[in-house]
Amino acid sequence: MEHINTYIGLVPLFPLIGALVLGLMHMLTCKTDKYPDKLYGIIACIGPILAFCVSLILFFKLRGMPADSRYLIHDVFTWFAVGDLHVTMGFLADPLSSLMILFVTFIGSLIHIYSAGYMAGEENFGKYFAYLNLFLGSMLILVLGSGPVVMFVGWEGVGLCSYLLISFYCKDTDNVLAGNKAFIVNRIGDLGFVLGMSFLFWAIGSGGFDYHSLRENAHHLAPSVGLIVCLLLFVGACGKSAQIPLFVWLPDAMAGPTPVSALIHAATMVTAGVYMVARFSFIYAHVPTAGTIIAWVGILTALLAAFFGMFQKDIKKILAYSTVSQLGYMFAAVGITAYSAGIFHVFTHAFFKALLFLGAGSVIYALHHQQDVWKMGGLKEKMPTTYKTMMIGALALAGCPLFSGFFSKDEILFSALATGHTGIWAIGVLVAGMTAYYTFRMIFLVFHGKPRDQKAFDHAHEPPAVMTVPLIILAIGAAFAGVLNLPSLFGGSLAVSHWLAPSLVEHHPHVSVWIEITAILASVIAFAIGITIAYKKFADGAVEPEFSGFAKWGANKFYIDELYNCVIVQPYKTTGSLISAFIEPKVTDLPIKFFTWLYKKLGASFKVFQVGYVRVYAIYMVIGLSLMSLFLSQTIN
């Protein structure tokens, strides 16, 4: 009984209530505009902050419990039960989910506060916060759900909010199209998720369809079915976390407001796929084939996205590709069964990527929605706080030693090397170098050198405190979050890994210290090379190059969007128009038209008998009567 805790349900409930209140307020008054923006801002922040408080309470409660039975459950009600299928609307707080909710609510709260400044004066202020709160609630359901189906609720909920927020500026067709793209691509992933859940259920779900029962029954899973389930679920993760081949939506998703990009498309939602794989570690750990596939997909995504990131000129697109790339790392980690390393990277990434996005948001805010890095420059003096905090974020992202990103990324690369995935490790190191290059390319272009657009530069100024304070807090996190999982080489004790251990099924390989040192050295060298090239090329006053050859391909993202458009989208639409314009009116009616034609012909031939004289009709009757009589006479003897 000690595992039952009714607080858990409150965590997602607070933001959801907030969303409901804000939504109603906005919906009923948006035409008359009764409430001031401040009121919306305050109400919007209450939910996340309360959720964060409850998360903290839960976290400490879990800490107080013995390590091997560290979980809290709250089964709210039976959601639906059909035959063997028994789905409970329940919440589970264990080390994994408690860590997730802690940083989700923490960063969520900060971004809410930041948004109050960033979005000030926007037309649909209330709607924005309603969506944002709804998103946070869905994300928390995703994380806290006690079974796959409940997770799927949050899974789809965050997808919906992502769609709504991407197409927030919905007067512009492009934004809406980006939203549609995000939702539809996510749905492709969901197809995999749902099918994976179904197979999982029919394999081992009859004893209860929540993580606890599934984990207990996991050994009944046949390897072939296990592989199917794992790959299908991974398709879901691909969609949500933007992996090959479903990564195309994430760069477009930058059409939404910048804080949204920070919260949804960098810190929280996109990492849901990684969380899901870690959640199902009890299955994935038994299916190494699936793990290998995931790891390779992940690391290739990392490589591809890093490559694209090197050629972007939109500051948010650079960060978006960097997100895809980092997500690739995380999948590489969970693929090689280094789940805790993956989750830890999710954790640190949330801090520094949110920081970078919010910093970029400040820059964009200061420059009046200018997003082209080639039109910025020299903002260091004008925006010192933003510069400093973004610098910290960039160092963390690039993997500068002692910053948080360094430890988490290094943990992944080390695990790859230690488990013998040398190829993955090598690509990982390469990507680390590329990451350093494109990150600092961005930093140098934006903050260093001379202003490229003097007019915009003159108007630029540091944003208000409501925006800078979250930046500073996040910067602290980005700088020092790595300490939480310090490997023993640096005198730490892998605290996060140990904390997560009860939730995950993973094996830490024991290898010599030299391998660890090799891994660290390799990534430090890669970082140094990357940053040096970036410094040389962009530190002062580079001009926008004309891309040619391979670089042009990179800048155009290998024309993958165009390819998808040609191969999938256009044929699909054309088929639709073809059906509506040609098949539906012309072809499918053919049988009917044939019958009507036949009837007309038959009618015309029977017309002969209709002479019109009543007497003749009477004769027909008599003929019928006679024939009938002839027939019936047979029956009478």
Binding site: V622, I623, I636
Partner: protein, 187 residues
């Protein structure tokens, strides 16, 4: 002779003479009826046809009497022969039909023969059906069978609703006839 007399006596005692009389009467009436109807179908002018039909109707009335249907016998004479047919004759005379007004009907006899051929299977079939019925005598039965009183009782007890409906039908027909025939053109 020795055999014939007691047989005759027997038959007379059992009313067999009545039966013989009835048979003769039946034969006579039926021949007249058939002739009358044939006259109806064959005659060109409707006046001749109507007169033939009246003959048929009257002989049918005789047949009703033979079947102990006293009331129907009376009604047949009064209503049919008296009212309906005289109405018809009246109309025929009212319209003052000349031979030239009538349709030509050149192939009339051909039609009639063809029609007869067509109808014969039907007739044969019906006769075949009738032949399967049990044979029975049709001596006059007394006890007021077919009398006004008895038929009236049946009519107003068991057949009250149909009777009322028929009365409404008659009313409607009456109105209809008035409306149709009495309509004046308003142009």
């Amino acid at each position: 002779m020795k055999l014939l007399v007691p047989f005759l006596k027997k038959t007379i005692r059992k009313g067999a003479l009545d039966i013989m009389v009835a048979e003769w009467l039946f034969t006579a009436f039926s021949i007249v009826a058939v002739l009358g109807s044939a006259g109806l179908v064959l005659s060109r002018h409707p006046m001749n046809g109507a007169m033939s039909l009246i003959i048929t109707i009257i002989s049918l009335a005789g047949l009703y009497a033979l079947l102990s249907a006293k009331l129907i016998f009376a009604l047949q004479l009064i209503v049919y022969a008296g009212a309906i047919m005289s109405l018809m004759l009246f109309i025929i005379m009212f319209l003052n039909i000349q031979i030239k007004d009538l349709p030509e009907e050149k192939g009339r006899f051909l039609y009639l023969i063809g029609g007869a051929v067509l109808i014969s299977p039907f007739a044969a079939f019906l006769i075949k059906v009738v032949k399967t019925l049990p044979e029975s005598q049709t001596t006059i039965i007394g006890n007021g069978f077919g009398g006004v009183n008895e038929v009236g009782l049946v009519l107003f007890q068991e057949w009250l609703l149909p009777f009322e409906i028929i009365s409404i039908l008659l009313l409607v027909a009456l109105l209809g006839a008035v409306v149709l025939a009495g309509k004046r053109r308003l142009k």
